[in-house]
């Protein structure tokens, strides 16, 4: 079982990032749950979703002990870093979060996601850059399978944008082995 939180400001695509993870994992035979946090949030406040991916049946959809945290901004780290499992992976959008101390029992992967998306001429693809880094860092699925999954996800919505593949590729390559 992999337990994931994807968190950031509303509008950064964190819910969609979680949704793509869930969809591609499902299409590759996994059981998945995806649940958004919702409540009386302010505009510009935080948004997050919890995703569980497993070969077995999933009990509660709510994520308590995080294997992988996607943090698109500082408040997401404030809120969720403490709930990460030891040896968990924290994927940080380092375009937004700089000069920060992290727990020393987790693996931190810093991705200049906004800068990369800008370079790829696809500023709305920040979350796709992050997913590239996610796949490299976690090996959840192989790179080509996941790239194809992203393509299918947007094709189903009738929104094919080749720059998404560029973002995914650049995000993937931004993580060192």
């Amino acid at each position: 079982m992999m337990e994931i939180i994807s968190a950031g400001f509303g509008g950064q695509g964190v819910l969609t990032a979680g949704l793509i993870l869930a969809k591609v994992a499902m299409d590759n035979g996994k059981n998945v749950t995806w649940i958004p946090s919702y409540g009386s949030e302010m505009r510009g406040g935080t948004a997050n979703c919890g995703v569980k991916i497993s070969d077995d049946e999933i009990a509660s959809p709510f994520v308590k002990n995080i294997d992988v945290l996607i943090a698109m901004n500082g408040p997401s780290i404030d809120k969720f870093e403490k709930n990460m499992k030891p040896d968990g992976i924290l994927i940080v959008n380092s375009s937004m979060v700089k000069d920060r101390q992290y727990r020393d029992d987790i693996k931190v992967v810093e991705v200049l996601a906004n800068d990369i998306a800008h370079e790829a001429n696809n500023p709305r693809g920040v979350n796709i850059v992050i997913l590239g880094a996610f796949i490299k860092a976690t090996n959840l699925l192989d790179k080509d399978t996941f790239a194809k999954g992203i393509e299918n996800f947007f094709a189903d919505k009738g929104k094919v944008n080749p720059a998404n593949q560029v973002c995914f590729e650049m995000g993937y390559n931004s993580v060192e082995n």
Partner: protein, 351 residues
């Protein structure tokens, strides 16, 4: 099997469409609004009627009218909105009309809050409206069951000419899971002998009325209807009950955690079992016939303050066993706590 990834609420709405439902009237309220939102465009696609009414009161009474005309109708709400349905439910029962009503349970009394809860058990199973009635209540515990039980609800509502309620909750409604959708089914609005569809000269005039008590045998008629439901519509899932020493009783989102708890407990040598009511009414008393001599106690696991299902378990077991409860309010129950409490029950400690 082809799966799609869908939100519980949206899957439920699509299931209604595929069961031939072509009428929705209701009012938005979190956490069920996706049902209304989805049907606002989907009904249009399939040539059905979608009405956002001025309140839930208007909504349920429009449903009553559409049902009298022979349509498959659905309404959904939560919390205070579902309370506003109650008068209409009593009227639907009185007029002998089918309808499917969904309560996506949210937390609390009064306005409460928008998170998941199982606090409406009494309202669902005892009836919040006036009079002398029961309704079948189905409790899904997954997005797939939201689909399957919605289809079943329409069939049962039609079979008994009676409203059927789906008791879902915010977690089941908001979460996405994989789901297999059934084929599209057509409903012939004119197929009933009893529905209002105009009257030709010389034909017997039909009447849909909430004054059924003018019938000579109304009491017997209603009593038989409930008896038939109790005999035929008990639904449940059992897990490792045969030799269980502590049997959990839980439905909806909480029951998923109980399943996990049974697996974990068994791996630790603790004999835990689970009865998951799928029909909350009629309560699945037949499930409790499977309890063995090794059963020492039962424990309900539910998301409300008072342990609303405890009474039904006591009734179903003839007061033969102690019945404990593990209740949570806003958070879903936890596997570790279930096992800890089962251990305390078995060691005679305070639960």
């Amino acid at each position: 099997m082809e799966y799609v990834l869908m939100k519980g609420n949206e899957a439920l709405a699509e299931a209604a469409i595929r069961a031939g439902c072509r009428f929705y009237s209701g009012y938005p309220i979190t956490p069920q609004t996706e049902i209304l939102e989805y049907l606002s465009w989907r009904m249009d696609e399939v040539g059905g009627e979608f009405v956002q009414t001025e309140s839930e009161l208007g909504g349920i009474n429009m449903m009553l009218g559409a049902s009298a005309a022979g349509a498959r109708v659905i309404g959904s709400s939560s919390g205070p909105g579902f309370s506003l349905f109650q008068e209409g439910i009593s009227y639907l029962v009185a007029a002998d009309l089918p309808a499917v009503l969904v309560d996506v349970m949210r937390y609390g009394n009064g306005l409460g809050d928008i998170g998941q809860s199982q606090g409406d058990y009494w309202q669902l199973t005892r009836g919040g409206g006036h009079g002398d009635y029961r309704t079948i209540v189905l409790a899904p515990n997954s997005v797939q069951e939201n689909v399957d039980l919605t289809h079943l609800a329409f069939d049962l509502a039609e079979k008994y000419r009676h409203p059927v309620i789906i008791g879902s909750d915010a977690a089941i409604g908001q979460m996405m899971e994989k789901v297999a959708l059934p084929e599209m089914e057509e409903h012939d609005i004119d197929k009933f002998h009893w529905s209002m569809k105009g009257c030709k000269k010389g034909e017997e005039q039909k009447k849909i009325t909430n004054l059924l008590y003018y019938m000579d045998n109304y009491d017997e008629f209603l009593a038989n209807k409930y008896k038939e439901m109790e005999d035929n519509e008990q639904r449940w899932e059992s897990m490792e009950v045969e030799d269980a020493e502590v049997v959990l009783v839980s439905y909806g989102i909480s029951s998923r955690v109980c399943k996990e708890a049974v697996k974990v407990a068994r791996s630790q040598g603790i004999k835990l079992g689970l009865i998951r009511p799928i029909s909350l009414w009629p309560y699945p008393i037949k499930a409790f016939e499977e309890l063995s001599d090794s059963c020492k106690a039962l424990m309900t696991v539910e998301m409300n303050i008072l342990g609303q299902m405890v009474d039904d378990v006591i009734l179903a077991t003839g007061n033969k066993y102690p019945v404990y409860k593990y209740t949570t309010v806003k958070d879903v129950p936890e596997t570790e706590v279930i096992i800890e409490k089962a251990n305390k029950i078995l060691s005679g400690g305070e639960v």
